[in-house]
Each structure stands twice: as C-alpha cells, then as structure tokens.
C-alpha cells in the first residue's frame, strides 16, 4: 500500500513536469519544463491547491535517490573524450577553479549581507 501511494505521488509530480514542458514549448520560455514544474508546484502548495501530505512521501522517495538520476547524463562524457586530450585537459581544472569562484562569491556575499542586516535565523 505504501508503494502504491509513493507511485501515485510520483505520477502527480510527473504531471507537473508535463505541464511545465507544455508551457515551455507553447510560450517559448527560457526555462526547462522541470524547473517550470517546480515553480508551479511551489505556487500550488502556497495557494493550498496541493496539500503537503499528497506528495510528501513520493517526493522524499525521489529526493533520497536524487544522485542516481544523474548517472545516465554523466556517462554521456564517453562520447566527448577527445575534447579533453592535449591542451583540452586544462578545461577540467579551469572549470573547477571557476566553480570555486562562483561558490565563494554567492556563499560569501549572501552570508555577509545576511549578517549585516542582523537577521538572526540561519546565522548561528
């Protein structure tokens, strides 16, 4: 029974992806269907159209296995091995460095503004 419930809840989540995909192609939006689906789900929860218990166990099931869903796309690297030969190998440390810069700026800036505005929550 528990698994039936999880499956049904995942179908609800999937419907949001389908609606998102449809909106994306119909209005030529710059966001992918899944992200539009996320925004719609957030709106539906906030407006109490969807209640948390209707989707919570399905969501928890998906999120606890989140990394597995990235594996197929990651394996796609196999077709682009040639890009990383010779000088191309430098692309890897370059992306790593640029990612650290991104992480530092967004983390540091947000943390500093939050501390300055003296909001206590989330600033232990």
């Amino acid at each position: 029974m528990k698994y039936v419930k999880i499956a049904l809840q995942i179908i609800i989540l999937y419907l949001f992806v389908l609606v998102g995909d449809w909106l994306q192609s119909y209005f030529h939006l710059p966001l992918p269907g899944s992200i539009i689906g996320l925004l719609l789900m957030l709106a539906a929860l906030s407006l109490k159209i969807i209640k948390l218990p209707w989707i919570e166990s399905g969501s928890r099931a998906l999120l606890s296995y989140l990394p597995i869903f990235f594996i197929p796309a990651t394996v796609g690297v196999i077709d682009y091995g040639g890009v990383f030969t010779g000088k191309g190998i430098l692309l890897i440390p370059l992306i790593v460095l640029s990612s650290f810069a991104t992480m530092w700026v967004s983390g540091y800036v947000s943390q500093t503004i939050a501390r300055k505005s003296k909001e206590r929550i989330a600033c232990k």
């Binding site: 925004l39 998906l62 990394p67 869903f69 197929p72 990612s99 992480m103 989330a122």
Partner: protein, 229 residues
Amino acid sequence: MQMIGISLGFVLMTVVFYLVTNALYFKYRRAFLVPAFASSFLIILILLMFRIPYDTYMLGGQWIERFLGPAIVALAIPLYKQRDLLRLHVLPVLGGIALGVFTGLFSGALFAQLFGFSQEIILTLLPKSITTPVAMEIAAGIGGIAPLSAVFVMIAGFTGVLFGPVFLRWTRIDTPLGRGLGLGTSAHALGTSKALELGEQEASMSSVAMTLSALFGSVMAPIVVWLFY
C-alpha cells in the same frame, strides 16, 4: 524482446552500482565514492571495455533519466517548508545568486580566453554552472555545442559534490544560507543533492539558487558574450 532485455540489463546495472557505491560511501565517507561519480565512472569503464556505444546504454539509461524531471519538481517541497527563512533573506539570496552567476559566467570565459581556447569552446563553457537542460539551451543560443556543454555542467556539478563541503569550511562559509546558495549557484542540481546531505535549510537554499541561477543565467549569458566579443 532483445531490446527489452538490454534496457532492463542497463537499468539493473545502474541501480546495482548506485546501491553498492552508496553503501560504500556511507561506510567510508570518501569523496571519490560519491555515488553519482563512482557509479558513472564504473559504467564508463564497462562500456569502454566491452565497446558498448552510449546510445545502447541509453536504451536503459533513459528510463532512469526520466525520473530527473519529477525529482526536480520534488525540490519544491523543501523549498516550501523553508519559505519563512527565504522571506527573511530576500536581499542576501538575490544578491548572492546574481553575483555568483555573473562570476561563474565571466570567470569561465576569462580563464578559457587566457589559455587560448577557441571561441566555440568558450561559448560552450559559459553556462557550466547552470542546470543541464537550461545550460544546453543557453549554449545553443550563443553559438556553443549543446551536448558538450552538458559535459562541462557535470564537471562543475562534481566540483561541488566532491570538494564543495571542504571548500566551504576552508573559506568559513558556515551558515546554512551561505552553504546552500554556494552549492546551488555553482553546482546546480548535483550541488543540491549534496546540500540535502547537509540539512533541510541548505537544501532549500540550494534549490532556490539552482532555480534562480537558471533564470538569471539565461538573461546574463548573452550579456557576458557581448562583453567578450
């Protein structure tokens, strides 16, 4: 019939590798055992060893990938539960993400320019910190190679997964707000999967960062291109 067998075989192989590396990761806590990384690595080894093309693997792989969409919608739940925290921090959230996205776009292009990479590679590299489907669209829009941009997105993602927590500790970014936004802005959904391990506040901040950086990125990428060329 044979097609179904092959598909099922690859689904099963992926799930088993994931479960095994996941168990090992939780036992030994080594960065290189991070399941998405270790499993992909093993699968690539096997495909290379038996000369199996990626398209054949994807007969099964596509069934796993299909769940990525609903999983991203599911990120609305931690986001919704932490809405009060977000409301309190509108300014730091928006400011941190906007500057972070700009840094990601600009520094990637700048470094690649310094090392003399071709314009096509630079344009492909530009959206690397943004979630895969959006990054591919941005890359295609500005003249890069969309499928290759997905590869760069993965490298950025694994930077966050493998080194993110250590880097954040080292740079004293220690609030749930800063850690979540740092991971989500630099490493999109993969960073968010790491943020889920750190806590619900981190996870919600990271999903906000992932979503907003996709939005900001599609607007800012053409501007950065214009700055460079």
